[in-house]
Symmetry: C2
Subunit: 466 residues, 2 copies
């Protein structure tokens, strides 16, 4: 099996001519567009594709992939470019396949609590579309990512502790395979024992096994009542202790988020969160009936108080809640603002919740010893947290420190029974970490990749080495 797609210049010329004929001005080699498509939001160096193709239908994606397969041209699927581990970098050239024009909501089945969308629909667009139905889609990575990108990276976010991640919320997919064939996986049934779970094989495969073009998702009724609360703690350890006890008590929190003092400092400045101290802070949200929400909130607050929480602030009005959660969603940019000009090397791990306090504690000590600036924010109800290392990519010394810190963090999480990434994915940034975590199973992943993409044209150089 060839490690790289083998192609030569005449191949590319012929392929590009065919793509140009198929797509007209939706196929471009313009520098500005190639630059825009060559990188996500994090520290990874950009790798520009040789061209960008904008597809408008599954059928068209199929034709594009067929042409690329014929000439062994790499195809890197692209949504809006908010990934954090270099997923969209065209490390071996080829085309960036932009699905952003595929932005139709195809069918809302309100009575079945499901919806089918094209891959380019963003999560905010979907929820705006659903506004009049009384339903919503809960998965919310910080950025306004596309549903296709979220499926491809197995995204989650603040609501995952209650509603699950893309793994639990994708019912079915339309996928274009590496040879251009179109398949449908799953369907609209809530459960199925029919054959291999291809849906979940493609969810999280980061564009390396197929191009996801349509997604059927579970929806949820907007809760009758929602309330949010914020409180601060004397230490991160105390805050994490409150989280652990809340989860172990089985309180069905919809969201429970930790921001350490550095992260809060960033959010207070960036999002004008006045009236909150720059201390370790938990953001809570409760969903349910009026009575249910009240009961949950009382139980959670009692636990928090036992752990030393103070300064409870409630946000029951929608505008107050939205301001709070917008600040939480902007935590990435708020973190960046702590060191103007720096790039963000953001890493995430996920551990069993009993190990969370120890993992965060050890990581903060490690950060301090390394002399780096790195706020922590986390979906701590799942045992998942992010470390946003603010680095100067021009400083080899800083980059080396960050790389070493990242490696130690990943090893710490794996040693605790956790995983090298809870939600950001592997991309090109965590291939070694994945290999370390998976052990012999990495060979099974590689075998599947070779089977489904024998020419290695689908987002090559990501997830797993073949």
């Amino acid at each position: 099996m060839a490690e790289t797609a083998t192609r030569n210049q005449p191949d590319q010329t012929r392929a590009f001519a065919a793509l140009c004929q198929l797509l007209g001005d939706r196929f471009t080699t313009a520098e500005a567009l190639r630059e825009q498509h060559g990188r996500g939001e994090a520290y990874h160096a950009p790798h520009l594709p040789d061209a960008v193709a904008f597809a408008e239908s599954t059928e068209e994606v199929s034709r594009i992939v067929r042409i690329c397969a014929e000439h062994a041209i790499p195809v890197v699927p692209f949504g809006v470019g908010t990934s954090l581990e270099g997923h969209v970098a065209a490390v071996r050239g080829g085309i960036s396949l932009d699905l952003g024009h595929m932005s139709r909501v195809l069918a809302v089945h309100a009575e079945d609590l499901d919806v089918t969308v094209e891959a380019g629909v963003t999560r905010k667009q979907l929820n705006a579309h659903l506004r009049d139905t009384g339903l919503f889609f809960p998965i919310d990575p910080g950025a306004d990512a596309t549903i296709g990108g979220m499926a491809a990276t197995r995204a989650s976010g603040t609501n995952a502790v209650r509603y699950g991640t893309m793994r639990e919320n994708v019912l079915g997919l339309t996928v274009v395979l590496a040879d251009g064939r179109i398949i449908r996986t799953g369907g609209r049934a809530r459960k199925s024992a029919a054959g291999y779970d291809l849906t979940r094989l493609f969810v999280g495969s980061e564009g390396t096994l197929g191009v996801i073009t349509e997604i059927t998702l579970k929806l949820y009724g907007i809760p009758e009542a929602i309330s949010a609360a914020v409180c601060s703690f004397g230490s991160v350890d105390d805050a994490v202790r409150a989280v652990i006890q809340t989860i172990q008590a089985g309180i069905p929190v919809a969201r429970i988020e930790l921001l350490d003092e550095l992260q809060m400092q960033g959010c207070i400045q960036y999002s004008k969160l006045e009236g909150y101290p720059a201390a370790p802070t938990l953001f809570y949200e409760f969903h349910g009936s009026e009575a249910g929400v009240k009961e949950q909130a009382e139980q959670a607050m009692a636990i928090a108080e036992d752990c030393g929480a103070e300064g409870f602030q409630w946000a029951t009005r929608p505008e107050d809640r939205n301001r709070l959660w917008q600040a939480r969603h902007d935590a990435y940019y708020a973190g960046l603002s702590l060191r103007p000009g720096a790039k963000s090397w953001v890493t995430d791990v996920c551990v069993p919740i009993s190990a969370l306090a120890e993992c965060i504690h050890a990581t903060r000590e490690d950060v301090a010893q390394a002399g780096l600036l790195a706020p922590i924010v986390g979906h701590v109800g799942d045992g998942n947290f992010h470390l946003q290392m603010l680095v100067d990519p021009a400083s080899p010394e800083e980059m080396a420190k960050a790389a070493a810190l990242n490696k130690r963090l990943v090893r710490r999480a794996i040693a605790m029974g956790g995983t090298c990434t809870g939600e950001h994915g592997v991309g090109m940034g965590k291939m070694d970490s994945l290999a370390e975590e998976a052990g012999e199973a990495i060979e099974v992943m590689a075998a599947i990749k070779r089977t489904l993409d024998p020419l290695n044209i689908l987002n090559p150089g990501k997830v797993v080495r073949v």
Copy 2:
């Protein structure tokens, strides 16, 4: 790729000698044991393995599979033999690999709500083991199946509407591959974006991609309060209407089960359910806080009354609830008792809930026209129901009628956006149905099977043709 494992008598003789040396009296060709291992619980004709091997550890499973791979001997994993689509039939001979001796609960992590077990632990054994922890494992196929078998068939049961199926509740696996290599998939983190979701690829693969030897499962706190209720309806349509409205209202029922009048008749006789009419009936269960359960029950009962329910009976004492749910779990045997001497051809489909009333209605008309006796019972909160056709396998006419009815049911479900099996799996009984449902995607399943089991020794002749 060879359609069948190629082997000859000398190969088998050598393999059996090696297995005998490895396992001693835990390797047997005794007729009685071969018979016991050659069939599940349903109508499928038995296919006896040539021998039965009892494994006691993952390492031993690995050695057994290595020997079989060397000599191209089929390996059919076996738990307790309660599957319904011929999963354990040794259609191409070889050995039945009995994992029943691997019945240790390896680690309970109560604080993380997870447990790791060997494949031969049964669901009742697990819950008995957990009794003092305040935790439970909710997935409950009617039979006391092994956790390994449940993972392999992506089992679910009455609690799936609230707690999900094995798909949602397996965190990680130890799997022996077709060449004897041992891999671990997933882990103890609640979520992960680390590479291809091998865990869910093996869950539901029915022993055709690997032998599952250890499973890490999610656990749940035993609810503070539980209540159960039973009510009957004038028609199945009315009962299904109540279910649909309950789900659409977002009431978090833990269980909502339909038994039609024929099934109730069987249960009343078989399980001595006195005081219940032989009418279409819903069984409900509610889990939560005292106040939450009361609120849920009131909402659900109001909907049921609107749909014409009558004769509400409550079961709040544990012994009454247990009696009720034991009767529900014994519905399969109760159905069988309606026609002494008959075999059960039980089939299940799952549809979007908005199509459930129409699907059940059309199916009941179809049963009446075919002149078959076939009670219906279902996990209707998921859109999943079972049709238990009581047939005389010696009557080719009856078997042909049942086969045709089954095919029409599957097509009806698929046409409604549903699936050919909600929880019983494919086995050898629904391979054509799966191919029909999957379309081109069946080729991807076959390609994965060929990659992970190139000799086609793992449960050959099941799920997908290669």
